[in-house]
């Protein structure tokens, strides 16, 4: 579904991604783990065209999306829940969700998807007329995921959805990620610092350090890998 081939991304003269290659298959949950500053968020922003790749190629369903504008990439079915959620603080919950469906015109289907996200996160329905900025961290994360789902993505990119949440909310978010993947066949690329939880729900994983991929494999194997245990699982 998604393939990155030797992608390099720069911030000015600083090379943040130093030749990343990774593959996400149809219907998979893939996790990308690594320490702070490794380049995980940059990878997601590069896929979405916000910080375009300078070298290498990005294929989505076998077609190159490397030089497309972000709005074109969204229209192909890629949606991101960015780090820090980035809810529009002065838009209401309803308006934030509307923005998720910005490129769609199928009113009846949009309503169905709205009902669907309210079954996933009933609390959002209660908050519907509240401004996004007034929600709690956990609620904002639910809204960010819901907003991304409103575009009906085939590939959902999640950037540290568990960051800053209470343990119970973390559990709930990971459950929802699995649910979204199994119920809708939505393919998921999950960036996490919480390596343990991420590897529990993922099929395969990639480990990133300093702008490169240093390790990859099935999640069950990575969970058992000594290097990972030491570096990321605190074991």
């Amino acid at each position: 579904m998604l393939e990155l081939k030797n992608v390099e991304t720069y911030y000015g003269n600083i090379k943040a991604l130093k030749g990343i290659s990774l593959f996400v298959g149809d219907g998979e949950i893939i996790t990308l783990i690594g320490a702070n500053g490794a380049g995980k968020s940059t990878t997601l922003m590069t896929i979405c065209g916000i910080t375009p790749a300078r070298i290498g190629d990005i294929l989505f369903e076998k077609k190159s999306i490397r030089s497309l504008e972000p709005n074109r990439i969204v229209s192909l079915g890629i949606s991101q829940v960015p780090e820090g959620r980035r809810i529009f603080p002065l838009l209401t919950v309803a308006e934030n969700l509307d923005m998720g469906a910005f490129l769609r015109n199928d009113r009846a289907e949009i309503q169905k998807d709205l009902d669907y996200v309210f079954t996933l996160f009933p609390i959002l329905k209660k908050r519907i007329h509240q401004q996004g900025g007034t929600l709690s961290g956990g609620e904002q994360q639910m809204l960010a995921i819901s907003r991304a789902l409103m575009s009906k993505p085939r590939l959902l990119l999640l950037d540290e959805p568990s960051l800053g949440l209470a343990p119970l909310a973390v559990q709930q978010i990971f459950q929802m990620i699995q649910k979204i993947n199994s119920e809708n066949k939505t393919t998921i690329l999950l960036v996490e610092q919480n390596a343990f939880m991420a590897l529990k729900v993922a099929h395969r994983g990639y480990v990133m350090e300093n702008g490169t991929i240093t390790l990859e494999g099935p999640a069950v194997d990575l969970l058992k890998d000594e290097r990972i245990k030491r570096a990321y699982l605190g074991l």
Binding site: N71, S79, F88, L90, L91, E95, D98, M99, F102, S151
Partner: protein, 300 residues
């Protein structure tokens, strides 16, 4: 009492024009955080376009309201095209540049447009025909409110209401607000941010053109420099009200209009600008974000 009323309505008229222009400053600032110094020139170009169209139409025997409407429509289209083009030429290429660069580009654009009109037209004041017909029911009150003033106030009110509804309820309006709050996130929603920015310039320029036609027709003469003065005043109004805020621009315009009107009426017309800028300084000291503005912290 009558004198007070006259000043009140005079200030309302003045303030309405400031508000119409201030809306363009505030909308552009809200979306790209740029003070568009060329905005006053767009207003001036609107007035000149209307003058040319009105002259042609009058020459061909058109009269009254139809001239006003046609001249306004052409002025709005022409100014909107100018606003759109200024953004594409002078600001878009500098979007990733340090913040000072587009600001300097804006000042350059303002000077360029002034001189362009100066050369293409003349430096003298040109008489602007009174396009606003007399209204019989107003005759009794003509010393405190003429038809031009009434039209200016009504037009501003209607335009502000339409703009507010547009921003609040349409898809483009929502996308504009989202872009103002978090541009990259709006892009991740599929918003074509370039288009949103263009739309903002087009709408702001159209409003300025309406202001330009109305005020030129009210005052009766224009030259290449009117945009500079009106631009500074309207910019002051936008800052007063809280730059980035649409209701703020309208409130700021009215407060400024009244301040000037009362200062002129009760003190002396020499002090008009002194009071206007004194007010600005006071508000910036006690409410740095403006009357209805949000502080930077709240915005993020």
């Amino acid at each position: 009492m009558e004198y007070f009323l006259e000043l009140l309505l005079g200030g309302l008229t003045r303030g309405s024009i400031y508000a119409l222009i201030a809306l363009g400053y505030t909308m552009v600032y809200g979306i790209i955080e740029l003070i568009n110094f060329a905005h006053g020139e767009i207003y001036m170009i609107g007035a000149f376009t209307a003058l040319i169209i009105a002259s042609v139409l009058t020459f061909h025997g058109f009269t009254g309201f139809s001239v006003l409407i046609l001249a306004s429509v052409v002025a709005v289209i022409y100014s909107a095209a100018y606003g759109y083009t200024v953004e594409k030429i002078a600001y878009k290429p500098l979007r990733q540049a340090p913040r000072l660069s587009p600001l300097i580009s804006a000042i350059g654009m303002s000077i360029f447009l002034q001189n362009y009109v100066l050369i293409a037209q003349t430096s003298d004041f040109l008489p602007f025909p009174n396009l606003i017909p007399e209204l019989p029911f107003l005759e009794e009150y003509s010393h405190i409110m003429g038809p031009a003033q009434l039209l200016i106030v009504i037009t501003t009110a209607v335009v502000t209401i339409i703009l507010t509804l547009f921003i609040k309820f349409t898809k483009t309006g929502k996308a504009m607000r989202a872009t103002a709050q978090d541009r990259n996130m709006a892009m991740l929603m599929g918003v074509n941010v370039n288009k949103i920015i263009s739309n903002t310039f087009i709408i702001g320029s159209a409003l300025a053109a309406i202001g330009g036609v109305l005020i030129a027709s009210h005052i009766g003469r224009i030259n290449f420099y009117i945009g500079f003065i009106a631009g500074i005043k309207a910019f002051t109004a936008a800052v007063l009200g809280g730059i980035g805020s649409i209701p703020g621009a309208v409130l700021g315009g009215l407060v400024l209009g009244w301040t000037e009107s009362f200062a002129t009426g009760y003190v002396s017309s020499d002090y008009e600008d002194v009071f206007a800028f004194l007010l600005l300084v006071l508000i910036l000291i006690f409410r740095p974000a403006g009357l209805l503005g949000r502080s930077a912290i709240q915005k993020v």
